[in-house]
């Protein structure tokens, strides 16, 4: 008998997405390679030119979107987000070395409701309960680590796509920018332990409902979490139903090698700009993105949840600052007091290819709190970000340069 070691855990992330192209017949969308659209795929969201469209029907290679809906689109790139199916080819998982990411915590947890039969039995003993609805949750924490090459996405790109709602915009050689969209791409997350015979896990149909970015210490961290359709375990694979297997015919072994890129960003380096003034006296900070996405828990004839429904976003930030008597900071605190919106830009990191710039628009918050627990008084700022217009989705964006 051997013991799986916690340190030997490795995570792999795959977007549940197919890159496709709108054909010249303007009503069909063809996968760029292979025959990826398979029976059982549900929750299709198709994004063409920045907008999401309804799918009329699909075959293994093409999706039909009504011409009357999408209008004239010729040879335009599209992303097809499906949900709750493990990326695979003929039942064999397609997870590869380059899907690997490094994390400090990766927790996948299956859930199933144990429901007590409510009928009276004529005694005070209760009958054996039954298992009803299934589901899962997941969370992941890692240091921020860019690819090290501007214009190349980081290892955690799938998480950020699922968080922001669409694929990043890449400017070749220069930047990768994640901006908000109302889509809800999902992930397949693998949790392999190097002890191959140990129980291995995969969470299917993972959606991101919360993310926090923290800085100010040696390293900056990102925490992400959300719900999953289910968490499938290798030890139980043969006993699971087809919905739990999510397209697989066998539970895969871990890729024999791993490929990861980048170094952890230093959490105490960067540039913080509030209301167009750059400050060098911030101590630490935290940004939280909460999105009320949820999986449909009331699916007829199914023990499992259904595809994701979107929900309202909220973006908030807290920053701890060494207080001073500068006119700029006094003006900023006054804006917080009277509720005048301001913009914020927080750039974490100072090495090209590993600079994470978070832009927050129209920030409104609480009056600054003063902390007197340290040598110098601190001014603790807490605010939320909002879009610049009623129809915008730009309360937050993240650019890697």
């Amino acid at each position: 008998m051997a013991y799986p070691e916690s340190r030997l855990q490795r995570g792999y992330a795959q977007l549940e997405m197919v890159q496709a192209t709108v054909s010249t017949s303007v009503s069909t969308v063809t996968a760029d390679s292979g025959t990826p659209f398979i029976a059982g795929m549900v929750g299709f969201q198709i994004r063409i030119d920045g907008a999401f469209y309804t799918i009329a029907s699909f075959t293994s290679t093409t999706i039909v979107v009504l011409t009357t809906v999408i209008g004239t689109k010729n040879a335009v790139a599209a992303q097809v987000y499906y949900w709750g199916v493990i990326p695979h080819a003929a039942g064999v998982a397609t997870v590869v070395a380059a899907d690997c990411f490094l994390s400090t915590d990766l927790v996948l947890k299956p859930s199933r409701a144990i429901a007590q039969r409510p009928d009276k039995t004529g005694s005070y003993s209760q009958p054996v309960p039954g298992i009803t609805k299934r589901g899962g949750t997941w969370r992941m924490r890692c240091t921020l680590a860019g690819s090290g090459s501007a214009g190349t996405a980081p290892d955690i790109d799938p998480f950020l796509v699922a968080l922001f709602g669409k694929v990043a915009t890449v400017v070749g050689g220069a930047s990768v920018t994640y901006a908000l969209e109302d889509g809800s791409p999902s992930l397949t997350l693998w949790d392999f332990n190097a002890l191959a015979a140990a129980d291995q896990q995969v969470a299917i149909g993972c959606i991101v409902t919360r993310a926090t970015i923290e800085w100010g210490q040696d390293f900056a961290f990102i925490d992400l979490s959300g719900d999953a359709k289910y968490v499938l375990r290798s030890s139980a694979f043969s006993a699971e139903d087809a919905t739990a297997k999510s397209g697989l015919t066998a539970f895969p072994t871990e890729p024999s090698t791993q490929t990861t890129a980048g170094t952890s960003v230093r959490g105490y380096k960067g540039t913080i700009t509030l209301d167009a003034q750059t400050y060098t006296t911030f101590r630490s900070g935290r940004i939280e993105i909460a999105i009320a996405r949820e999986l449909d828990k009331a699916v007829w004839n199914s023990d499992y949840p259904g595809p994701v429904a979107g929900g309202l976003r909220s973006v908030s930030a807290t920053l701890t600052h060494t207080d001073d008597d500068s006119a700029n900071l006094l003006a900023l605190k006054n804006k917080l007091l009277v509720g005048t919106p301001f913009d914020a830009t927080i750039a974490i990191g100072a090495t090209a290819g590993n600079i994470w710039t978070i832009s927050l628009n129209d920030c409104i918050g609480e009056p600054a709190d003063y902390g007197n627990g340290q040598t110098h008084r601190t001014a603790d700022l807490a605010f939320s970000a909002y879009p610049t217009s009623a129809t915008s989705k730009n309360e937050i964006a993240l650019a890697l340069t």
């Binding site: 070395a97 380059a98 690819s147 090290g148 170094t263 090209a352």
Partner: protein, 103 residues
């Protein structure tokens, strides 16, 4: 097949790479998977086209010196990153890893 590293640090198929321009030997299939998976490596032919000198590769092998690099190196460095972007986009569109010259 030879690829060249243009990032800061990476583990590619279990092999640690730290030096800019370091050679990474991979099968074509592995290289394609790595590039599509956002590894900062370029096919050697694309890297050679950027015309880095051996002196530049020595001086700017690590991230620190690259923060204040010469304009000449900066232009080549950007060209390498842009070439990687173009290779990745080509692969995503179902194209080849390397485009051979015209006939």
């Amino acid at each position: 097949m030879t690829f060249r590293f243009i990032g800061t640090e990476a583990s590619i198929e279990g092999r640690k790479v730290e030096k800019f321009g370091a050679a990474v030997e991979l099968s074509e299939e592995s290289g394609i998977a790595a590039i599509r998976g956002n590894s900062p490596i370029l096919p050697d032919i694309e890297f050679q086209a950027c015309a880095f000198t051996s002196e530049e590769l020595e001086e700017y092998a690590y991230p620190g010196p690259r923060q204040e690099c010469s304009d000449a190196f900066g232009r080549k460095w950007f060209a390498a990153r842009l070439a990687l972007h173009e290779v990745r986009e080509r692969l995503k569109a179902g194209g080849p890893l390397v485009v051979t010259g015209g006939e």
